[in-house]
Structure formats: structure tokens, C-alpha cells
Symmetry: D2
Subunit: 321 residues, 4 copies
């Protein structure tokens, strides 16, 4: 069973101590009532992972640990087989003792787009909302963060994270299986990341307030979301599906997004990057068994989704609380 | 103290019986914890209202009870003085034993615009969300509704309603001091009205789902809200104030509003009326002490609000669940 | 499904209206989460009961409705077969259209012992805590009570009650599937009965306070419980079993019981009856398939239970709040 | 403000980790809603305590820290004045850098009576329910306990404890402002002490179950309570006051107490000491401003309380879960 005792021990005396008022009860409820049907199997897979010396950790330019040759051939094969039980691996890539987990997304591309624009993370408390398997958590730590917390309610992602954590072993990097609505108003993080989440929220305004309530006064929000072209009054609310995704709600223009952020009290709001997702950044690999971007676009016109909406365009917004 | 026992008695054996699971506890909490500071004074004002025979009730063409002359001059003056303690009277007008409560809004105009478009209310269960003082509740009853419930969290409006109820005395017309988020999924009303509320909601999508969850399958939603000109991707989110109102969030175009409703599962969606609010419909009277529409518009260009946004334009949408 | 709507309707405007704050939510939870595994079968048995005219109801000298001959022979047999599905019938007897339900207990004997001592029940609100199948509820109503409520958490007893209610049809007599700890402080009943319950409570003192909190000021408590001989400091706490019953805790002397009641604030406390339960009052009949009193006593010495404790001796206490 | 972060940090990874599910929320509620009116003043008194080297700590034969002369005369006087703001000091005595806190009770006498009978506390997790100012907590630690927790809802006692802790500084000794009913079923302590509490409980049986649910299987309960002479069916429930104390409920004989413990599933139950409290163990000192034992007894017959009950007689019971 995933055990959060070490996390509680750390936050008891750091800036997040008030989180103990709600978090242990939430996670206890989760463990008793909401575990995924496959959870026990997954846990066994985790327990079967081979041990290896925690050497050559690089979190600055990649997320990698160890080298080819740390494991013998049999162990290497077993490692690959075990980790493939956690498919689909969406966010990455990871390099683990010579094994390249070639994930659907090149999340390092996104990191490269934003890294130069964000405040220095050295010695910072950092929160990543909707962190997936936690790829960016490691990069935040690599950039000097003192304490990194990711939240994501998808339990498979927690398994992927735990698998990586098994090899890297850094207790300052943590993933909790929570949704943003379960967070109290911590007002404790220096930087909050929320990438690829806003368009999944029914209420983007409430989401912005939730993000703000996690930040220390003057803290930095790094928000990335799908946008459309248009003026400050342009917002696309697609039908049932957008790029085959259900559960997509508000796609504002960059200007509209800035106006919303301002309305919610953010300051110093700027768009630091816009980017049309390319098929070299999101594509089918052997680590996913599902479709990927090329299947989501109109085969005759890659500027449109298969439903006829503008193809995915993403912007990164930075602002202060 | 406002007593809801008669309401509970009625719903115990009608279609709304499951409401007893949550409602009495909510209203008890409200009475014990959230009464307005003036509540006791208001209650005394209500208790001091003169008695009069409940004659000549007209709810079909107006909201009126009794005639000039039912009360003597002293009683008439006292009635006026007492009711003016409940200023501002926003929605109306009411005619009570010769007293004309000339409210800020001519809510009868709005009723006239929608009456021909809605389904026959005869024998229907009807809910009005954000009903204000309840003017339209009476008109719904006048149109034949079997059981009418309005909700509005503003306690002054409950006082205004109770004052009118004091004279009309119709237990099939009820106002509860609740917000929409306090309603369970009753799925019990034939028609739900939500007029002048959506633009005050941070999350219009959640609001649409809440409305839908009050309707019987196939029931009718009558929704009125502020709109802007534009195509289906046009949505105005104003700054801090819109026409001097705080707390205004999403002003979609009519087409965008229809798309949202469709996304939330409504069917047979149509715009039955659009209207630019005129100063003969919303204006200062002796029953309010505050500003009114003419103060909210740009004095040099009545097509704009004082903040420079498009002047208030309202549309009525009808759809089925 | 047992439906409490009529009960809610009645209490909405009577002295028990504050009960609506908690009761519907409790019973809704019960129906959704705690129904007995046989509940649906039992409900079908209830639905299959024959109809008969509600004639010759006697609640004053017995609990009986109708006469031999109201049902034809086939119906009579069916009635008996259906009602025997609700075995064991502990408290009674009942006479239903010629069918004699010869229950394990002659609860009429107990009623006769207390009837002359209690205050007149005419027009009273009466509560019976731990009412079993409700035999005494009917007798209380027969004695003139205006509104009678029994509570007992055992769902089979609710079925037995509903079966009898099916024939008598008196909405002023009600049984709710609740334990005493689920009651709010109603302070609304004129008389509260608690017979055969105190010795099953781990905390007799808390139980006495719970009883008191149901009574109007000055109301009457009628409490019957097992006692032992002894002075005011004599209290038997038996081992695992007493007369083969598990879950027996405190058996005080009559004097100790009076001292406890006084300590809890009761006034005018008196013992109106003590009685050693005889085998003609509690015995095996064809309406139970289990053992009865004669099996619980030492076969060689009926003054002792089979465990060697003093045989069951019961006393009736009456006091005012 | 008392801060429990260090306690949370310790239990996060020890045997008590499941306590984090409920404890931080309880203590947060307590701090926000239930602080004593004098709490802030008390806190200032604590903050004003002089610093002194933590030397010569003796917890084995007494509770003492430091020596006469560690503080200069002014500091000594100030220390005494500050600590006297926390009067009445009931349980002790304490010796703090030359200051002798001569408490009402010689709690060391009680410790001496029980010390030889209890299991070795070395490396044990120990809980003391109703620990007062925590005198025995220190002695338990002195006897080798690994982790000591006391609970007592009286906030003044927490201040007294914090004052002593200020000088001794041992984070393995902790006092939490809780009542026994707030404890979850921890099943984690090797030894649980409950001295002078049972007679204050309305429900001694529920109390025994609560104690049991704190113990590891086979753990040891040390229970001390007021008793009366008599056989296993003898229990005194006094009137409003016993020895001028309100809130005294059940005083069983030693045999009755043993029977209750057995009924609740304790094993290996024995009485290791009975003692009539003498006026040299509980008496008025300059550290209390209230009455003491001699005022509670019949001046003409010290074998009786002033109300005429048997004078306080205490027994120590030891048993295993």
C-alpha cells in the first residue's frame, strides 16, 4: 500500500504543516474506499521491480538514473516488462538504468519552452496540479526546488511515479492522488504549475481561484492550456468531443485567458509561449497502446481536429498572485 | 420567525417529498446561524401589517389584491410606511388594497415577453430560481400552476414576499431562502425558470446542470440572461463591474448560450426573445433609494454601459431537459 | 418500500415538527444503506396480505380487528401462512379477523400491571422506546392517546407492525426503525415508555438522560426493567449471558434504580409494580420457533437462571421529568 | 500558540501514524473554537519563563531539573510568580531549578504504590488518560518508556505541563488537550494508565472499552479508581456531590470492578493496591487556593465524606487486553 507517512513527517514541520488538518483523512478515505480495481496488481508489479544503485541521477537536462549495464540482460528485460504493465505512459521520457521509456509526449519539449520564462525555482516550494506521471516534478527538482508536490487523481500515474521514485529515491519529490478541489487554501507554494488542466474544468474561474489559493502572496502561477485565435471575447466551448477527448470545456483566446486571470486578481500576466502541438511532440510509441495526435486531427487538413475545430494550440501564461 | 411547517406538510405527500431529506436541516441551520441582522425588526414590521379581507385577487393580468377603500386612510398610510421599510423593492409591481408598489422593475413586461412562448403551466410544478420578491411566482400561479416554489437567498426579498403573501394567502405559492447550490437533484419540476441569474454565476456550466437536475425528464427550462452580439464563440467576461454591478461573469452571445445548453444535454433549444432593457422597464421610483438603469449607462451613449461595455441586452431561451 | 411520508405530513404541523430536521435524512440513509437482507421478501409478504374491512377494532381491552368469518377459509389460511413468515412473534397477542396470533409474551399482562398507575393518556403524545412489534402502541392509542410513536431498530418488528397496521389502519399509531441514540432532544412527549430496554444498555445513565430529553417538562416516564433484590448499592452486572441473553448489562435493585433516576433529575419516583416473570407470561407458542423462558431457567430451581443468577424479576418505575 | 507539529512529525513514522487521520483536525478545531478565555494570557506567562540549562534532570526518583543556584534571586522569584499564575497545581511535586512546586497531591506516593506492580516500561509506548499536569508522564519516561502521551482536556493542565516541559525539554513526553472520547481505536500502546477518571464517567463500561481499544493485543491496563467495600454486586452511585465533587458516578467494590473488567474482555485482572487517601497525600498548600481533602471529610468522622458517604478509598487494578 502506498504509504504517505514520510510525506506527513516532512510537512509536519515545514511550510505545509496546516495540510495535516485535511490530508491524512482524505488519503485514508481514498485508500479505504476508492482504490482502483487493479491497485493490488499494480502494487505487486512495483514490489517486483529490481533494485539498482541510485547513481548518475540527472534531473537537470532529463529525467534519468543509472546507465546501460547497471542491470544484467535478464533484469533489464524484466524491468521493461514490468513497467509496460503501467501502459499507457503519456508524459516523459524517462531513462532508467538504460531503459528508455519513450512516452507518448515529449514533455521535455514543453519544459524547454517554459524554463527560461519562469522564476528561479531554487529553494522553492513548488506544486504541480495535474502532474500526470510526474515528469515535470523531477525537472522542477532538477531546477533546484526545495520541495515538490504534484497532484493527480489518476492512480495509474501514481504507479508510474512510484516506479520512477523507486529508482531515483528523492523524498523531496512527491505525488499525491488528489484532485485540485481537494486542496485546502494552503497559500504556501512559491510556484504553482497547472499545465493541461484548465480546459478540462467545467468552471475555469473557480479553477483560477483554486490555483491562487495555493500560492504565497506574490507567488508565481505557470498555466498552460489550449487556446484558440481571437480577441478578448473569443471562447470556444466545443461539443461532446474535441480531438476525440471528452471533457473539454473552455478554450479561450490568449487575450480572453489573460482577462480571466486579471479578473481573478492575478497580476503581471503575460503569455510567454504559444505553440501548435506537432506530431513529433505527441505521437504513438510502444509505451502506449492507444491512438495519439495524428489520429485526432483531420487527415486532410492538419490545422483542424477530426471534429473540425482548430487543431490544438497551446499557450503558456505566467502571472503573480 | 418564518415557519416552513406548512410547506413541509404539503411536500411530504407530493412529488417533492424527497426534499425533506435535506431541506428542514438547511432551513434550521439558516434560522440558527445566518439570519440577517435586521431580521427581527423586519419580522416585527410584518407582524404589524393590517388585516384585510382577501378579496379581488388577480394573478392573471397583474399581482393585485383588494381595492382602494378596503383600508381606511390611516391604515393605508400605515401600510405604505410599513412596506417602505422593505425598500428597495426591485421586482413588481404589486397592487395591495389600493396601494401601488411601483417597483424599480416592470417585471410584468418580462412576463409579457415570455408568456406566449412557454408551455401551459396548468397543474404544473414550477420552480423559479433567483425569484427576487417573487413577482413571477404569483404570475405562474395565475397561469394555472399547481405548486410554485421560488428560491432566493436574499432575506429582504423573503420579507417582501411574506408581506404580499400576508394579503393574498395562497399556500401553493412559496419562497424559500436558498441558493441554487443548496438544492438536491429533485428532478421533479415541470418547468424551471432562471431569469437574471446565469450572469451572476462563476460557473455557468455547473449552473445549467443544476437547472437540469431540477426538471422532470422532458421538462421545460425558461432561462433569461444578459447576452452580447456575436457568433457562437463570443463571450464577454467583463472586469470588476458591469453596469456598476459587481459579480457579473459570463455574457455569451445567444448562439454561444445555445451551444452551452446543448453541451449540457438540453434539447429543442430556442431563443424566443431578445430585448435591450429600456429605461421605462427599469427606473428609479419612490420604492427604491438607489440608482437605476439610467445611472448605469454612458450618459452620452446609451448603447454602452458606464464602463464602456455593450448596454444590457437580454435574451430568453427555452429548452427541454 | 416503507414510506414515512404520511408520518412527516402529520408531524410537520404538530408538536413534533422539529423532528423533521433530522428524521427524514436518517430514514433515507437507513433505506439506502441498512435494509435487512430479507426486507424485499418481507415487503412482498406484506403486499400479499388480504384486504378486509376495518371493522370491530378494539384497542381498549385487546388488540383486535374484525371477526371470525370476515375472511373465507382460503383467505384465513393464507393470512396465517403469510404472518408466520414474520416469526418469531414475541410481543402480543393480536386477533386479526379471527386469527389469534399467540405470541411468546402475554404483553397484555404487563399492560394490566401498569395501566392503573400511569397518567391518563387521553389526548397525549406518547413515545414507546424499544416497542417491539408495537403491541403496547395500540393499547396506548386505545387508552386515548392522540399521537403514538414507537421506535425499535429491529426491522422484523416493523414488518409485524405494518402487518397489523394493514388491518387496523390508524395513522396516529406509528413505528419508526430507530434506536434511542438517534432521537434528537424532542422534549415533546407527555409520556415516554421504556420497557425491557435499560438492561440492554451499556450506559443506563446516558439512557435515562435520553429518555428525559424526550419528555415535556413535567412529563411522565414509565420505565420497566429487570431488577435484583438488594439495597440502594446493589447492582448485578452479569457475565456474557443472563438467561441465555447476550447484551445484558446493569440489573440494579429497585432502590438503586430509583437513586439513579433521582440523580438524573427525575422527580416523584415510585415503584408501582414488581413481578417475577412466570412461564404463563413468556412461553413457547407456535408463533416462535425459538426457546422461551422455561429454557432460560435452571430446571432444578426456577428461582435461578440457567447461569445461576436470580431469575428474571421486573419492576415498573414511574417518575416525572 | 501551542504547536503540535513536532508531535505530528514524530508519530508520522512511528506506531501511532494512523492517529494523523483524526488528530490534526481535532486540535485545529480546538485551537480555532475552544481555547480557554485565559489562553492568551497563559501563553504570555509561558513565553516569559526564564531560560536555564537543562541539567540534572531526574525523572526516576522525582520530577526535577537543575539545582538551587541555576537562577539568580530575581529570576527565581520571577519563576515562582509566573508559575503561581497557573494555580491550582494539583498533581506533582515538581522541582525546577531550586523551586519546589508543592502541589496539592503527592502523586509520587501513588506512583510508589503502583511502580513495583506494573510491567517494565522500557522501550514502551505509554498512554496516560486524564493525566492532569502530567506528573506521571515524566515518571513513565523516567522508567524507560520510549514514547509517552498524556491526554487531559483541562487547558490549565496543559499550561502547567508546558511550563515543566520548557525546562526539561524531552520531546518523547507529550500532553494533548483531548478527552478519551476523542481517541480513535489506536490499538498501539503497550501500557495504558487511567487513574482517577473512571468515577467521573457516566458510562464506566464504555470507558473500559475505550481503554481497551488503545492497547496492543496483550497490552497492560493500569486503572485506579475510587471504590467502596462490598461484594461483586456492590456499587455506589452517590447523589449530586461526593466529597464535594460534582460529576462522580459509579463507585464499585473492587470485586465489582474486576467483574466489569472481565465482562469487557480484560484478562489476568488483579487488584494490586487499595488505599484510603490520607491528608498527607492530598492537602492544601500554597500552590492551590482551593479547599482540599480535610475540607471534604466529615470533621467528626474522617471515615466519611461530608455528605456521609464512605471516605475516598482507592484501588489500583492491573489487567491485560
Amino acid at each position: 500500500m502506498t504509504n504517505f507517512s514520510k510525506f506527513y513527517q516532512q510537512i509536519a514541520t515545514n511550510r505545509l504543516s496546516s495540510w495535516l488538518i485535511t490530508l491524512p483523512a482524505q488519503l485514508d478515505f481514498w485508500q479505504k474506499n476508492n482504490l482502483h480495481g487493479e491497485y493490488k496488481h499494480w502494487q505487486k508489479t512495483l514490489d517486483a521491480l529490481p533494485s539498482a544503485q541510485q547513481t548518475n541521477v540527472d534531473l537537470l537536462h532529463s529525467v534519468s538514473v543509472g546507465n546501460q549495464g547497471d542491470l544484467n540482460e535478464g533484469e533489464s528485460k524484466r524491468l521493461e516488462n514490468l513497467l509496460k504493465k503501467f501502459k499507457p505512459w503519456r508524459k516523459g521520457p524517462y531513462h532508467i538504468h538504460g531503459l528508455h521509456i519513450d512516452t507518448e509526449w515529449r514533455s521535455d519539449f514543453k519544459w524547454d519552452r517554459l524554463a527560461e520564462h519562469i522564476s528561479d525555482l531554487s529553494n522553492k516550494y513548488v506544486l504541480d496540479i495535474g502532474c500526470g506521471s510526474g515528469y515535470h516534478l523531477w525537472r522542477m527538482r532538477g531546477a533546484g526546488a526545495k520541495f515538490v508536490v504534484g497532484i493527480d487523481p489518476t492512480q495509474l500515474f501514481l504507479m508510474q511515479f512510484n516506479a520512477v521514485q523507486h529508482f531515483i529515491q528523492d523524498e523531496k519529490v512527491n505525488l499525491l492522488p488528489l484532485g485540485v478541489e481537494q486542496l485546502p487554501e494552503l497559500k504556501a507554494f512559491d510556484t504553482v504549475f497547472a499545465m493541461g488542466v484548465l480546459y478540462h474544468r467545467r468552471s475555469p474561474i473557480d479553477f483560477l481561484y483554486q490555483l491562487k489559493s495555493q500560492l504565497v502572496k506574490g507567488g508565481e502561477l505557470v498555466l498552460e492550456t489550449l487556446i484558440v485565435d481571437g480577441d478578448e471575447n473569443t471562447v470556444l466551448v466545443p461539443g461532446e468531443r474535441y480531438a476525440k477527448m471528452r471533457n473539454v470545456w473552455f478554450l479561450p483566446s490568449a487575450k480572453a485567458m489573460c482577462a480571466w486571470m486579471e479578473r481573478c486578481g492575478f497580476k503581471n500576466i503575460r503569455v510567454v509561449n504559444t505553440d501548435i502541438t506537432a506530431v513529433d511532440e505527441q505521437r504513438k510509441t510502444e509505451w502506449i497502446d492507444t491512438e495519439s495526435l495524428s489520429d485526432f486531427l483531420d487527415p486532410k487538413d492538419n490545422s483542424k481536429t477530426i471534429e473540425g475545430y482548430p487543431a490544438p494550440q497551446r499557450a503558456i501564461f505566467i502571472a503573480n498572485s
